[in-house]
Symmetry: C2
Subunit: 82 residues, 2 copies
């Protein structure tokens, strides 16, 4: 299954609880798109967030994020990894 | 130890072996800066790469990448994670 890293902006000042809640909204609906979000990392100073996921394609990843209310600004398929 | 995600551009067409070699150059010198690179993900189509690391600060992470010949275009401290 392809892996993806997606990037969000605008999460300035977001707390651990808020990130967990946002991530949970993805988890709650991801199965319908065949996507599995595995990690999310957030810089609350710049507001940048990065999610790692597996799924069929970028569009499926974005559909989950859109339905959860936080569309990604960019999604990259990352088939090369160390 | 703080965690960081750093972003690189320009790695269009980079292969698994090339990413492994570039990552190894970081690993070979990271101890001097107290940095540990744990993961790197690459999209060879867009040329974007993302590294996850732990270290004392962003500047230490960048010094390793600079000495290895591939400075990051941005480094984010990511204290919030799920």
């Amino acid at each position: 299954m392809p892996k993806f890293i997606d990037v969000h902006s605008g999460f300035v000042g977001i707390t651990q609880d808020q990130l967990s809640a946002a991530h949970q909204r993805d988890l709650d609906i991801q199965a319908a798109e065949g996507v599995t979000f595995t990690n999310a990392w957030l810089d609350p100073v710049s507001g940048k967030a990065f999610c790692l996921s597996e799924g069929p394609d970028k569009e499926a990843v974005q559909r989950v994020h859109e339905k959860a209310g936080h569309p990604a600004e960019a999604i990259y398929e990352v088939p090369v990894e160390v």
